[in-house]
Symmetry: C2
Subunit: 279 residues, 2 copies
């Protein structure tokens, strides 16, 4: 029923932290700081960056220049507890372990979540390798067993995705929003009916088909599907005859077919050759 | 250099929250609460559970019985701000939206991270679909665009993994720990050398080979590899001749080869048949 006892524990609580318009203090301006800035920008956070300009990496500089409305940069070091005023999160990316430790202690007193790069025991949370495709975000954590393995896992996961998933998820989000407009309200039997119908759409349509959802198709799907309490396929919706599959090239050009026919021809040719020599 | 502007923003900050021996209050005992309990147990958190027994799901009940050292259960409702004393995180899983809202407001005042199931606008963080294999944890978030799509992505990712990744990561963690014992210290040139060597091991050995790392092999790899500033392959380490690949079946049994030879034979046979009829 529950997970087996041996698999419980020893991990982290993986969560999607909400930073929209929250204040995030980043201390340090090196390459790691530039990665932190990108992560916070992904979450639409408002960044205050403290770093003497001589230590600012070109990537960090580029980000400061590109997002002046999101990043407030101060060319100086962390000066004391007053820097934490109104901060919702603090990230340090410093070479100076003692300085990081001091900042973390201040954060803990002020109950502000904090991460100190490369000093796991000071962190309220860790970062991991990440994959992003629009609204789809994937994080890979090896729980401190090596960033290289996380990078390998990231590559494996990227290889398993077609690159169309983000687009499909976006369209499903649009369909869901329009369905909620048609049939509004939170929870209850209607909420359950909505959830069930959305699930069926996602199970019936494949990723590729979901990316075809545009304004007209969504309206048609709601008219012909939701209103009639059914889930038509994309082909049914567009009035096309059902296709078992829709390969990009005609089936007779597939590599298996090519291999078979060319081997057949080669077999025939060799036989003709052998038999003609015998004569 | 940085991400293109269009792909920045609109997401979350995905993090691995550290809960080891932290106090987590869970309010509610239904099915969603049981999922929350499992997530917190994964992170080794200490749970205080508030839920009138009549609403406690069988899964929740099973978890309370299985982890008495981790879960302190009280058969009652949330009574007021005093419940938040010494709590590091609060999760509500209640049908009563107003009750959830009250609890979230108290948490915000006390600066305690909070998640309210099914009420996104009240949450400091969201949960996502998760994959776990020992030290490997993967989270999939669609940023509120539908749990069904997250479940589909989870299936896709599970399909891309062989099930040996967790074991391999564990072994790499052991190798890393033993290397650190041999060559201790934080950062500096030695730290960089360690990191580079570990990276090369992970790039040279595949997942399957990494799972073969045991006590003896690790000692040998450190002796023959680290000490000699090289990275031997598993075959070199075990004194086996190098194999380009080690397929499970001989190559001539592969489906492509079967297809080609049978087509060749069929072509030959047909030709013989046709020619013999002509005579």
């Amino acid at each position: 029923m529950a997970e087996s006892r041996s698999s419980v524990g020893g991990g982290s609580l993986l969560v999607a932290w909400q930073l929209k318009d929250k204040n995030v203090l980043i201390v340090g301006g090196g390459e790691v700081a530039s990665q932190r800035i990108e992560s916070v920008l992904t979450g639409d956070g408002l960044i205050t960056l403290l770093a003497p300009s001589k230590g600012v990496h070109t990537r960090t500089k580029h980000l400061i220049d590109t997002y002046p409305d999101r990043i407030t940069y101060y060319d100086r070091r962390f000066s004391g507890p007053a820097e934490l005023h109104k901060m919702d999160m603090v990230l340090t990316a410093l070479d100076d372990v003692n300085r990081s430790r001091e900042i973390c202690e201040l954060c803990r007193k002020a109950k502000i979540p904090v991460n100190a790069a490369d000093i796991p025991d000071l962190c309220d949370f860790y970062f991991g390798a990440q994959v992003r495709d629009g609204p789809l975000q994937i994080m890979i954590s090896t729980n401190g067993n090596g960033p290289r393995m996380a990078a390998l896992m990231k590559k494996k996961i990227e290889g398993a995705l077609s690159g169309k998933e983000g687009g499909a998820i976006e369209k499903v989000g649009e369909l869901r929003a329009q369905l909620k407009e048609r049939a509004p309200g939170v929870g209850g039997p209607l909420g359950r009916k909505r959830m069930k119908w959305m699930s069926e759409v996602c199970n019936t349509w494949d990723i590729d088909e979901l990316t075809h959802l545009d304004h007209d198709t969504i309206a048609k799907l709601l008219d012909e599907g939701w209103e009639k309490n059914t889930v038509p396929t994309l082909d049914q919706l567009l009035g096309r005859s059902k296709q078992i599959c829709s390969p990009r090239y005609p089936a007779f050009l597939s590599s298996q077919w090519l291999l078979a026919t060319s081997s057949f021809a080669l077999g025939a040719a060799c036989t003709v050759l052998v038999l003609s020599r015998r004569k």
